[in-house]
């Protein structure tokens, strides 16, 4: 009784076999690609109905198989292990264990054909070498070669475009631009590549074509005078490279005259200002806690880790869409991220602003209101962070002094700008959300200390206060917070471009 579903299955397969003489056809050009240390070569495929078959004779030399036919069974031997197939059976015995195939073996002249699944279900379990069979892309990868599956997606508007390139398992890539040609070259042995078809309107848009250049390189043709910025970030078991393409404007790079009068305050609802957001190009958002670390939990069950992620996602969308900046997230799902990894992402990608989002708690329910923290260091730490000049040989001879700042004290050099941003944010928040009595405060916060850019930690409100818990979980509050934050970033950018200087 145990095999009942399987016998149904084989009955269906027998029916298919009955039809086989009608549908049996060798499709020219259809083949598997074998990737191994010796290079790549095709293995011909034969189609029977929808089922792809491969000839045992073609597999034999690759895996050193011997194929024998006797007493109505086909015996395939591999290094002392045997696979037994029966011509009208979908069941096969692999080293004594039963497996099922989608169709029984089929005879084509003197050759035996087996369904392609034979490779993953029968050969792979007994092979000494790793066999990775990817049916959708018809790839057969031997010997543990690094062949990431690369999926390219794109989004376009009239003046901007974005390419999202996901490599799974993660593989690093290098993005290079030469005029109208962009290349993305991967550090791998080969690529399992999926390139999207471009819509016909592509001729007028920024992305004009995406193609495979060689085994490891994707080429993208872009419109003349396109500026590309790329950023790589691991997402689960994938390395995601996001390439933002913007049409360069004629005034790009022209700095405002230094003697210009202070710019008028920008209107509250700025149109999307792509081009070059001078001063702020990249913002790193750090949704606090995550995974096993829930953070504070409200009486109503609101978890800090979920709240911070929800607000971070809203903030990312708004900053990207309206400010045209790159936004990095230290996490985009519910997971543990070590504190040092959070700042490392911001530091390694040269973010211009780092914001860590949190929700507060107190032992008393009275506490209420949002707080914006910048880092605090005691005197000893500040001293050890400065004046550590080291004399190193300079290129071309001679010596020069470089300043050495310990990793965990990097923030000491940005404190002034961090507190300036905190003040701007307090100013924008004060009429829109409830603030704590001391709304802009300082504390020795671990996550801010190693941030090598202006950095603040925002406590949105108190989960320990039932009214506050309801408030900060609400759509209205989160919307108001995001708008205020956006306005603060706009003002911060303007102070930096109008004589504030870079960092």
């Amino acid at each position: 009784m145990k095999f009942r579903p399987l016998s149904h299955f084989s009955a269906a397969a027998l029916l298919a076999l009955g039809l086989a003489p009608i549908l049996f056809s060798q499709t020219p050009g259809a083949s598997l690609t074998l990737l191994s240390r010796e290079g790549r070569r095709p293995i011909p495929l034969t189609l029977v109905g929808d089922q792809e078959f491969v000839a045992l004779d073609d597999l034999a030399p690759i895996f050193q198989l011997t194929v024998q036919e006797s007493l109505g069974a086909i015996t395939v031997s591999y290094r002392g292990r045997t696979i037994v197939l029966t011509p009208d059976q979908t069941l096969a015995s692999v080293a004594g264990r039963l497996i099922s195939l989608p169709a029984p073996p089929a005879r084509a002249g003197r050759r035996w054909l087996v369904p392609v699944e034979f490779i993953s279900r029968a050969l792979a379990p007994i092979a000494d070498t790793p066999i990775d069979f990817r049916k959708p892309s018809r790839l057969l990868i031997l010997g543990g070669l690094r062949v990431p599956r690369v999926v390219v997606r794109h989004e376009s508007t009239a003046t901007t475009a974005r390419l999202i390139v996901d490599a799974t398992p993660p593989a690093n890539s290098t993005v290079a631009q030469e005029n109208e040609h962009l290349t993305i070259r991967f550090d791998a042995d080969a690529l399992d590549l999926q390139i999207p078809a471009l819509p016909p309107a592509a001729a007028t848009s920024i992305i004009q074509g995406i193609r495979s250049v060689d085994a490891l390189t994707i080429g993208v043709d872009v419109a003349p005078r396109t500026v590309a910025r790329s950023i790589a970030q691991p997402v689960d078991n994938t390395m995601r490279t996001v390439i933002d393409l913007t049409a360069a404007q004629t005034e790009t790079g022209a700095a405002p005259p230094p003697s210009a009068a202070p710019a008028p305050a920008p209107p509250l609802d700025l149109p999307p200002s792509f081009g070059q957001p001078a001063g702020i190009r990249t913002v790193a958002i750090d949704p606090g806690h995550g995974g096993n670390d829930q953070g504070a939990v409200g009486g109503g069950g609101t978890k800090e880790k979920d709240l911070t992620l929800a607000v971070a996602r809203r903030l990312k969308v708004t900053l990207e869409a309206r400010l045209g900046v790159r936004v990095l997230m230290t996490r985009d799902d519910d997971r543990d991220v070590p504190i040092d990894d959070r700042t490392a992402l911001a530091n390694n990608n040269k973010a211009d602003l780092f914001v860590s989002l949190h929700a507060n708690a107190s032992m008393r329910k009275t506490a209420a209101g949002a707080t914006i923290y910048s880092a605090a260091f005691d005197e000893d730490a500040s001293k050890s962070a400065s004046g550590n000049a080291e004399r190193v040989p300079a290129f071309g001879g001679g010596l020069r002094d470089i300043e050495m700042v310990p990793w965990d004290l990097a923030q000491t050099h940005h404190l002034e700008k961090s507190t300036a941003f905190a003040a701007l944010l307090e100013d924008q928040l004060k009429d829109r959300v409830p603030l704590a009595a001391r709304a802009a405060d300082r504390a020795p916060l671990r996550v801010l200390e190693s941030a090598n850019m202006p950095a603040v930690l925002v406590e949105l409100g108190y989960l320990s206060n039932p009214d506050q818990e309801k408030l900060i979980a609400s759509d209205a509050f989160q919307h108001a917070f995001v708008q205020a934050f956006y306005d603060a970033v706009v003002r911060f950018r303007d102070t930096r471009t109008n004589g504030g200087g870079g960092r």
Partner: protein, 194 residues
């Protein structure tokens, strides 16, 4: 028959006086002392100090507003060295309290060990509950940490900085916010003021 009657009245009076004396003076002294002695013995460290001797000290509890600490004058067992006194202070500070006081120390936290360096840095090793049972949030973390920092630095001028250890180990933070890798001083601008 005046004589036996007076005798009976006098005898009853004397018995009553003796009984009252025993009840109100002898017993309380005996049992009271025994209680104090056992309290001293139960403290985290074997104290050489005279049992029952107390000092007045400021211990710290969460203020009404929930974001600051307030100092409350309380009796703490006397310790005859800075180290002994520091242990008595922390033991008293982490002890559970009842309304209207609210402690910022998570329930179940105990003092595992305490050391003071020549430079006046106290290393306070608390049991894992201080981190594992912590409610989270930057403010509550600040309150917990500065409860200990303030209790030691306010009451013992010889102690200038405090580093917290959890379960015998240095930790990055208690609940993900405040950096505990370096000793913290009372004068830090962020310390919630008493």
């Amino acid at each position: 028959m005046r004589g036996p009657r007076a005798l009976a009245i006098g005898g009853t009076a004397i018995t009553a006086i003796v009984l009252a004396w025993v009840l109100f003076f002898v017993l309380p002294q005996r049992f009271g002392r025994r209680q104090q002695t056992s309290a001293a013995a139960a403290a985290a460290t074997p104290s050489e100090a005279a049992p029952g001797r107390k000092i007045k000290a400021h211990l710290f509890y969460v203020a009404e507003d929930g974001v600051r600490l307030v100092g409350v004058e309380r009796d703490v067992a006397f310790g005859d060295t800075t180290l002994q006194q520091a242990r008595e202070l922390v033991a008293a500070q982490i002890a559970p309290v009842s309304d209207p006081l609210v402690s910022a120390i998570p329930a179940g936290t105990t003092l595992r060990a305490l050391f003071v360096t020549d430079r006046g840095e106290a290393f306070v090793d608390l049991s894992r509950e201080v981190s594992a049972a912590h409610p989270g949030g930057t403010v509550s973390e600040l309150l917990t940490i500065y409860t200990i920092v303030n209790a030691l630095t306010e009451n013992l001028p010889a102690i200038t900085a405090v580093q917290l250890l959890v379960d015998g180990k240095e930790v990055d933070t208690l609940a993900g916010h405040i950096d505990l890798r370096r000793p913290l001083t009372k004068n830090l601008a962020t310390a919630p003021q008493p």
